[in-house]
């Protein structure tokens, strides 16, 4: 058993390969999370600032569409489909676009809920002192909105980091892809077990932090 799933020799050989994958997973996360947040920010601020049907309905359709679209399908469609449209892009760029569309929609909904949780009196007070719409959003509403939905934002971020493993299907050499390479080279599942352990070590502090924030939010509500 131990020789099959936790073979020390194979782990030693696979480690450098996994490390390269970890580097790519981290790089992907560092690019994709801010990108998704940016998309979400644009969607949520637009949705809460303009109530005109011509803005609202297209935005709602956009968000609904990309939340309902399985990210794996979206990713494969982009990777397989774009070359037919004459657009050659790397797996990395593909993952970035897919995640921008998918997680942007999720972050957008979370931030919209946060913005709507800030009482309208805050905006009125800010506007009455002469702050413009954008200034009011930036300095008064958004800081409170983000604080109100911080656990949800963090939870979504956790999901995004986990979902970067989808990059493996478009030959993006992230942690899971590298682990599978190592597995097929060694005919042994130890690299996969090792990859799972690396994911756990990477994400567990975030999970702990999330729990603490959630408990604090619950306590504050009492």
């Amino acid at each position: 058993m131990l020789d099959t799933f936790a073979n020390a020799e194979i782990a030693r050989q696979a480690w450098p390969i996994l490390l390269a994958g970890l580097g790519n997973t981290l790089l992907l996360s560092v690019v994709v999370v801010p990108l998704g947040l940016l998309g979400g920010l644009i969607l949520s601020v637009t949705a809460t600032s303009f109530h005109h049907p011509l803005v609202r309905y297209p935005l709602m359709a956009w968000v609904d569409f990309f939340r309902a679209f399985p990210p794996l399908v979206l990713l494969i469609l982009l990777f397989a489909g774009l070359p037919f449209a004459g657009i050659q892009i790397t797996g990395f760029a593909c993952v970035c676009i897919a995640f921008f569309l998918n997680t942007g929609a999720y972050y957008g909904e979370i931030l919209r809920a946060g913005i709507e949780s800030v009482p309208s009196g805050q905006t009125e007070a800010a506007r009455s002192t002469g702050l413009g719409r954008l200034q009011t959003m930036l300095f008064v509403v958004l800081p409170q909105a983000v604080r109100n939905v911080l656990p949800d934002l963090l939870s979504n971020t956790l999901e995004v980091v986990k979902l970067t493993s989808l990059g493996s299907v478009v030959a993006m050499p992230e942690l899971l892809f590298q682990a599978r390479q190592a597995q097929s080279l060694t005919y042994n599942p130890t690299p996969i077990v090792l990859a799972a352990a690396v994911y756990f070590v990477l994400l567990w502090p975030l999970v702990r932090l999330l729990s603490r924030l959630e408990n604090r939010a619950l306590a504050a509500r009492k």
């Binding site: 009482p119 009196g121 805050q122 009125e124 007070a125 800010a126 506007r127 009455s128 002192t129 002469g130 702050l131 413009g132 200034q135 300095f139 008064v140 800081p143 409170q144 604080r147």
Partner: protein
């Protein structure tokens, strides 16, 4: 020639859908004048106040503040709003900032002061409301009365030409009302023009130049506090004053 009024609102109408909230209201406020607006809830007092700085868009009418047409599309509204301070029933302090942060935000972002200038002006505004030693506290660490005084400091720091008070003491515990009224009285003595919507009849009696009674979207009657409280001409005014004085 009489001095130009600080506020000159004429023929203000406001509809909320089918609801006709203001039905042609005039309000002219002279320099250093304090106008006190009373009336039953739903009479349009707050809406009138909010039309003066265009937090509500009047359906028709004109609003001039310090000679600036507030409803003109060419008016820089954000600039004009610095001239109109507003204090709300629920304080509306920014909970994520300190008292000083609340006071200095618009000084920095709208009036374009440097951080050092804004801090100095903010400190002196806080000192004027008796809270110089609370500059570093967040709203959550302050009592309701202190919060409302910070809100007043936030407005007066911009050196407005007129201050609008929308039921400033209605959300306060009775023992905290006095401190807020004291600040308002002090402001009045300094010559600030003020429009106050409130139920503090004692304050109206000894601080107001003029009392306006509103009902159903119209100013029914206006006069000196003595006229309105002692010998109102209109039946509706008499009924309202009678009801209030029973409490």
């Amino acid at each position: 020639m009489a001095a130009r009024p600080v506020v000159e609102a004429r023929g203000i109408h406001k509809h909320f859908g089918a609801h006709h909230v203001l039905k042609g209201v005039d309000l002219v406020l002279a320099e250093r004048e304090l106008a006190f607006v009373i009336g039953p809830s739903g009479s349009g007092k707050s809406t009138l106040l909010r039309c003066l700085n265009r937090l509500e868009e009047p359906s028709s009418g004109s609003v001039m503040v310090d000679g600036v047409d507030m409803l003109d599309a060419r008016t820089d509204l954000n600039h004009a709003r610095q001239r109109v301070g507003m204090v709300f029933q629920s304080f509306n302090l920014y909970p994520h900032m300190t008292a000083l942060g609340n006071v200095t935000l618009a000084l920095r972002k709208v009036a374009g002061k440097s951080s050092a200038e804004a801090d100095a002006l903010g400190q002196s505004a806080l000192a004027r409301v008796g809270l110089a030693d609370r500059a570093g506290h967040t709203p959550g660490q302050l009592s309701g009365g202190q919060q409302q005084r910070v809100a007043i400091a936030r407005a007066i720091a911009l050196e407005p030409r007129v201050m609008l008070f929308d039921e400033p003491t209605s959300a306060l515990d009775p023992e905290l009302v006095g401190s807020v009224l004291a600040v308002m009285r002090d402001l009045r003595q300094s010559g600030m023009a003020m429009v106050v919507v409130s139920h503090e009849m004692g304050f109206a009696r000894n601080a107001a130049d003029r009392v306006l009674f509103m009902d159903q979207g119209l100013i029914v009657e206006e006069g000196t506090p003595a006229q309105i409280f002692e010998s109102p001409a209109q039946e509706r005014t008499r009924a309202f004053i009678g009801q209030i004085q029973k409490h």
